[in-house]
Symmetry: C2
Subunit: 344 residues, 2 copies
């Protein structure tokens, strides 16, 4: 447990370093308004803090820099407990204004977030499997090709082009669509394959010629793995950070960000609420000197998606955490309202 004085000095060091990116020395600290101690005294405190592992030197006669342990302490004990709801209004306006199209909202949020913070924002879109089928449509283009369209109750639209095998006639296709629409309305996307196999298959068998073939085609058209929606905003923001001056780092970072699977993997967390991952706490080597703050937004009790900000370990934790918290709350609220409206 830190003494009050130690905590004060630690805070000052972290705040100063977050702002300036330079190691902070005893003299500079003693000059701050809320410090009335001499540099020498502060040196003693700093020696203690270093021994405890909260700060470090970059070389034997340099000023101090917060260690990861230091940031962790700061996040857990300083910013965590005193979370204000600042910036709520911006987020609220954003979410309320644009809610009709969920995907666009998510995308725009990513942009706003990265503009506001100057870090890189990553948003994992809603898992559409949790939403329900509203309508299914097949539009023939030519004799042998068509596009299948699937609309969910959240206003999401998926489409796939596919070839119609010669064995399936236009009337058969129409019948199939009718059957599907009749039976599948309101079924969650996750359950679609199951329901098709148990209920629809037998129906098709009765009405449709060569149903087996049709079934195969439908399946391949709709039940391929759904791509995860991933939005990244302000990828270039990090370039302005002073710690990003090494070309090798830049390369490693961008190479990693190009790999969608890896980014998704990074964000996926079972945890609700805000989660802060500092430096080496991160999964991947490439971002071992970054910090990642994730917040999830919900749809009922199901987790739906994740919002995250990625920046240097020297990150404005207070600001970022407040912001993400506000946005995730707003999004959860908006989703709840939407859901309710949909029920009626």
């Amino acid at each position: 447990m830190l003494t009050e004085r130690q905590l004060l000095i630690l805070q000052v060091i972290i705040d100063d370093f977050i702002e300036s990116a330079n190691p902070v020395g005893s003299r500079a600290i003693s000059k701050k308004d809320d410090i009335s101690l001499s540099a020498a005294t502060i040196r003693n405190v700093m020696a203690d803090l270093e021994e405890l592992g909260y700060i470090e030197k970059t070389h034997s006669s340099s000023g101090r820099v917060p260690s990861e342990k230091g940031y962790r302490y700061y996040v857990d004990n300083v910013v965590g407990p005193h979370m204000e709801n600042g910036n709520l209004s911006i987020m609220r306006d954003l979410v309320r204004d644009d809610f009709i199209d969920f995907e666009k909202l998510v995308q725009k949020s990513a942009e706003v977030l990265s503009d506001l913070t100057n870090y890189t924002s990553i948003i994992l879109g809603p898992e559409i499997f949790e939403t329900k089928l509203k309508q299914l449509q097949i539009v023939p283009l030519t004799d042998h090709s068509a596009v299948a369209i699937l609309v969910t109750d959240s206003g999401h639209v998926e489409h796939r082009s596919f070839t119609i095998p010669a064995e399936i006639s236009a009337t058969d296709l129409e019948k199939i669509v009718n059957i599907l629409n009749d039976r599948l309305n309101g079924i969650s996307l996750a359950r679609l394959p199951e329901v098709i196999t148990t209920e629809v298959l037998s129906l098709m068998q009765m009405y449709v010629h060569d149903f087996e073939k049709s079934y195969q085609y439908l399946k391949s058209a709709f039940f391929k793995e759904q791509p995860v929606k991933l939005y990244i905003g302000g990828k270039t923001n990090l370039l302005t950070q002073p710690e990003f001056n090494d070309i090798k780092k830049i390369r490693a970072f961008y190479q990693m960000m190009e790999n969608e699977d890896q980014v998704v993997n990074l964000l996926k967390t079972p945890q609700h609420g805000i989660k802060v991952t500092i430096g080496n706490e991160n999964k991947f080597e490439e971002i071992k000197d970054f910090s990642l703050i994730t917040a999830s937004y919900q749809f009922g009790n199901e987790q739906m998606g994740t919002i995250a900000l990625l920046g240097p370990t020297r990150m404005e934790y207070r600001k970022v955490i407040t912001l993400l918290n506000a946005l995730s709350n707003e999004m959860t609220d908006a989703l709840y309202l939407w859901y309710k409206n949909n029920e009626t």
Copy 2:
């Protein structure tokens, strides 16, 4: 006009520099297999070439580097006339395999192209205004919101969510959709607004209550400016180029690439076929030491889209030009076939 010897030396310099990125000296040239002249002779030729403006020194006692004029000459007189159709098979397989979904094809092409060349590829998707409306659909989600879906004969799907104003009833909405589908089928997207105003408006007036309001809403839902589809592949490839060692350059470049409008603007060219833009020939300051090779692909006589590769001025022009040429031909062919099939 260059003498044969001068041309030979120029070629060697350019080829060597493209490969090594280092200024090339007389001694190195004289050692090449296809050169049987001494370094001193070559120095004389080089002095001539420099006087003519085709090569430059980086400092008074350095080797020579091609100037932009040099690259231009090389492209126009060396690679242009002797274009082989190499790599055709890769491109053909790519295009043929995947043609069903045009957008995915374009996206994948961008990837393949950047992988194959290690430069950044940019593809401007097909201008969907040239294609024709196949079907229009409105799917109501709740009492006051719906999603409008528009399918073109090329299999492209656009969708927009919108709010239904209280004044418009469900039956009216249905009527409107019926009218629209009836009248608009086969009309090119570009002509939609016009046809709606001249033909459909009067019909709506007859059948639909409060048609004016409905009309406004439809218009806003469908005839907003269509976003241009832009695919960029291998953004990080350029990081591996040695000329990209200056952080400022990197920043300027990425900042520019984030601005979609600017990128689109860069690619838009009235010209058919292959176009090479070297260094300062480019529109924007940010890429004044890059080269851009663009190729357009067609749909009938209408230009549809553009494929481009962006790399350092020290670019493998021969390879890139051959590749782009092949791909653009394949895409034009594929589009032609598709179009024909659609007619029948």
